[in-house]
């Protein structure tokens, strides 16, 4: 046996071509966020140390450099931080990749400072879950609320809150309980599917992988257990998606031709699945055809599932171009002339009348009119009426398009419910947003939500003091959200 083979055997192979011919089982993308001094590098480093297949020389480096300290300096594993600071680019999201035996992890590490909120939003939109750090000595801050609001907007549905540096508050159950309540109050404003709040210490490692003796009062999962729980939920969702329980969406990117015989529609299945023989419709033109083949270089498929990049061939020649979204005839996207969006404003210039292009999954259409309606106040997490906004603001806006585009509410289909607003003159991305409701034409709303209407029943228990008014606003937004999920357009007139 060669020395190389021996070495690999001794380490227990992380890659065995016979067992693992085509790669790891899946990818988990985790956004990490929190303020600079919340101990993010140490926690990421600790996580790498505990679960990643790290080269032995990196472990040795940490051990060497940490000699004489009570705990190893795990932040050394988070490469290049000092360098980055010298280069002046800590402002941006850093992508890190590591493998465990079964899985690829992508850590999307976002900058802490509020000036760079837009970069945080950019990174968060790619994440399956977020790891939000809170310093046990400081508790929830404005930054925590801001991050939660952005996670909610871009569609992160699972949040793990690490209440870090518990060792510095003597592992006090009372301190943790108070912070946890604040966090629940803050995150409860949004529609997260799961929230796990974990008291831990990245430095000592308690509750990162294993529970320590220090927090016997805490009965919840460790950080790594909590990540695994979310992964299980995500996998269930993915397999439900793949088995066709959600609507088939195929945004057409290109029409590919090869001689006179081959004409195919190239794109990626964004949700659901499609089989040869299925009837599909282009909602924009109303044209219907059957799938005659699902092609890829190397061979045709019988079925294409969520995430597959394929070429669909149809049984008749339809005039379908880039921008079309194919679906099943019974469950099609909305052919929208207008939409209500939640936007994060990304450029320094406020909304103007120079003009924007709206980019959807594969379509791009000039914007007719953009009207900002409400702006989120990060301190109270309450939206107030507004007609303009600035960089990093979260707003609700009404938008009308020059010509109809195929859209879905974001809550129903993320890939066909997300848009960019591109500045027509500079080409810069002015805003990114999600569709709350898409309207077939620019008509009036399905429901005009007024204070009087709410006080008739849902809010008949509320008075007129400030606390009651805030609760009324909260309920009105909740009603709006529920209606939006059902595809109905609500005009919320409550300030």
């Amino acid at each position: 046996m060669s020395s190389v083979a021996k070495r690999i055997d001794a380490r227990a192979p992380i890659f065995d071509p016979r067992r693992d011919p085509s790669g790891l089982a899946s990818i988990t993308r985790i956004l990490t966020c929190g303020s600079v001094d919340d101990g993010k590098s140490t926690l990421i480093g600790r996580l790498l140390w505990e679960i990643a297949e790290l080269p032995e020389d990196q472990r040795e480096h940490v051990r060497e450099a940490s000699r004489g300290r009570p705990f190893p300096d795990f932040s050394l594993l988070v490469d290049g931080l000092v360098d980055e600071r010298a280069q002046g680019i800590t402002i941006d999201v850093a992508w890190r990749y590591f493998d465990t035996r079964e899985r690829r992890y992508v850590l999307i590490d976002s900058p802490g400072h509020e000036t760079y909120t837009r970069n945080m939003a950019s990174g968060a939109s790619h994440a399956d879950m977020a790891l939000l750090l809170v310093d046990a000595r400081k508790g929830v801050r404005q930054q925590t609320r801001r991050h939660a609001a952005i996670l909610d907007l871009v569609g992160v549905r699972h949040v793990l809150v690490a209440v870090n540096k518990m060792d510095l508050v003597g592992w006090s159950e009372e301190v943790f309980a108070a912070i946890a309540k604040d966090i629940r109050d803050t995150l409860g404003t949004f529609a997260f599917e799961s929230v796990e709040i974990i008291p831990l210490s990245a430095l000592t490692g308690d509750n990162v992988v294993t529970a320590g003796e220090t927090s016997l009062w805490y009965g919840g999962p460790t950080l790594v257990e909590a990540i695994a729980r979310v992964e299980t939920r995500l996998e269930e969702k993915r397999s439900a998606d793949t088995s066709g329980s959600s609507g088939f969406r195929f945004p057409v990117q290109l029409v590919l031709r090869d001689g006179a015989d081959f004409r195919g529609l190239a794109g990626t299945v964004r949700s659901g699945s499609v089989e040869v023989g299925d009837e599909v419709i282009d909602a924009l033109s109303g044209a219907v055809a059957r799938v005659s083949a699902i092609s890829q270089m190397g061979g045709d498929l019988d079925v294409a599932t969520t995430g597959s990049a394929v070429v669909l061939r149809l049984d008749r020649d339809l005039d379908i171009a880039r921008g079309a979204v194919l679906s099943k005839p019974t469950d099609r996207p909305i052919v929208a002339g207008a939409a209500t969006l939640r936007l994060i404003w990304l450029q320094t210039a406020p909304p103007g009348d120079a003009g924007y292009i709206v980019r959807t999954s594969t379509d791009a259409t000039p914007v007719c009119r953009l009207a900002i309606r409400r702006r989120l106040d990060f301190a109270s997490l309450v939206e107030a009426n507004a007609s303009t906004c600035g960089v990093n603001d979260l707003v609700t806006a009404d938008i009308t398009f020059v010509r109809p585009v195929a859209l879905d509410p974001f809550a129903a289909s993320a890939a066909t419910g997300a848009v960019l607003l591109v500045d027509r003159l500079s080409g810069a991305v002015a805003a990114a947003g999600v569709v709350l409701a898409a309207h077939e034409t620019a008509t009036r709303p399905d429901l005009e939500l007024t204070e009087a209407l709410l006080r008739e029943g849902l809010c008949s228990d509320l008075g007129t003091d400030e606390t009651s008014r805030n609760e009324l606003r909260r309920r009105s937004r909740e009603v709006e959200r529920l209606f939006a999920r059902a595809g109905l357009h609500v005009r919320n007139t409550i300030a």
């Binding site: 890659f15 941006d92 690829r104 270089m297 990304l346 997300a418």
Partner: protein, 301 residues
């Protein structure tokens, strides 16, 4: 029947999506082809993205005149085999006559022979976008790179002016004199590249596999003498050793590693158990701190 996508399937589909978006949005893109393993995967993914149609763009190779002969032979064979359009660009300016990989500082050599040649070619052909095989896992400044990376006039990269890039929405709208570098392999790691080469049974330059080769030592690293331009004192110190390369470039500047891995499986096994980062073998990256950052700002890939 439902199929479960592995992580390589996910990465492949993402890269194909990127290629197709770019082809739809840009007027005249080009694929930067450097013959190495990443370029091999890049080309394969491009062919998949547009199959059965022909590639809707050319390949562009910056040839410094110091590439391994086996690389050039491999390049030409690939071009013939797949019926590709290839543009070869070499810097023939006055500056280029005064640099060579043995006497010039590696940073100067790279700047003149690679970065300048690249910019000359991109300008001459008026390409508005160029695909590259860079990966975010390669280096700290690349870890922050976008998939569609906008370059200002003169191909400069300003890390502070990077565009937001959300969800699957790639936007190729550019302002006057701006161009875009596109990185379809952004989310791949070195391990993925090797796994994928193995899975797809891709042909790669034989230099990646160990063989007895004429080697010499320089600055504590092993190099291979590829032709008779090797100067003294190295020339008389050439010794045959079994070596292979983890990355490929100009032969006087690309270090080899001693290895017995003679076939793809052995190379993959060795790579996946590797203890040192891949670019360690490249002199140009270690020339000065923040080297990649600086090169990128000048317009290097």
């Amino acid at each position: 029947m439902t199929s479960v996508l592995t992580h390589l399937d996910v990465l492949e589909a993402e890269s194909i999506h990127i290629f197709r978006e770019a082809a739809a949005q840009f007027r005249k893109p080009v694929l930067l082809y450097s013959i190495g393993k990443d370029s091999t995967v890049l080309l394969h993914l491009a062919r998949k993205a547009f199959w059965p149609a022909r590639l809707p763009f050319s390949l562009f190779h910056v040839d410094t005149g110091w590439k391994f002969r086996e690389m050039i032979a491999f390049r030409d064979a690939q071009v013939r085999h797949y019926g590709l359009d290839l543009i070869v660009q070499t810097n023939r300016s006055d500056a280029a006559r005064h640099v060579d990989p043995f006497s010039s500082a590696p940073s100067v050599y790279t700047s003149v022979m690679k970065t300048d040649a690249l910019k000359q070619g991109l300008d001459a052909h008026r390409f508005d976008a160029a695909f590259g095989g860079a990966r975010r896992d390669e280096e700290a400044s690349r870890a922050k790179e976008r998939v569609f990376s906008v370059r200002g006039p003169g191909h400069t990269w300003d890390p502070r002016r990077q565009r937001p890039e959300l969800w699957h929405l790639l936007d190729g709208t550019v302002g006057p004199q701006e161009t875009v570098r596109i990185f379809p392999l952004s989310n791949w790691t070195e391990r993925d590249i090797w796994r994928y080469i193995r899975r797809e049974q891709l042909e790669i330059v034989p230099l990646y596999m160990a063989a007895p080769r004429p080697t010499y030592e320089r600055d504590g690293k092993l190099f291979v003498a590829d032709d008779d331009r090797l100067p003294e004192p190295y020339r008389s110190r050439v010794v045959t050793r079994s070596v292979r390369f983890r990355t490929l470039g100009c032969w006087p500047l690309t270090a080899a590693v001693e290895s017995a891995a003679q076939d793809l499986d052995a190379v993959v096994a060795e790579t996946l158990a590797a203890r040192a980062s891949e670019r360690q073998g490249r002199m140009i990256d270690h020339d000065q701190s923040g080297a990649m950052e600086r090169k990128k700002q000048e317009g290097y890939f």
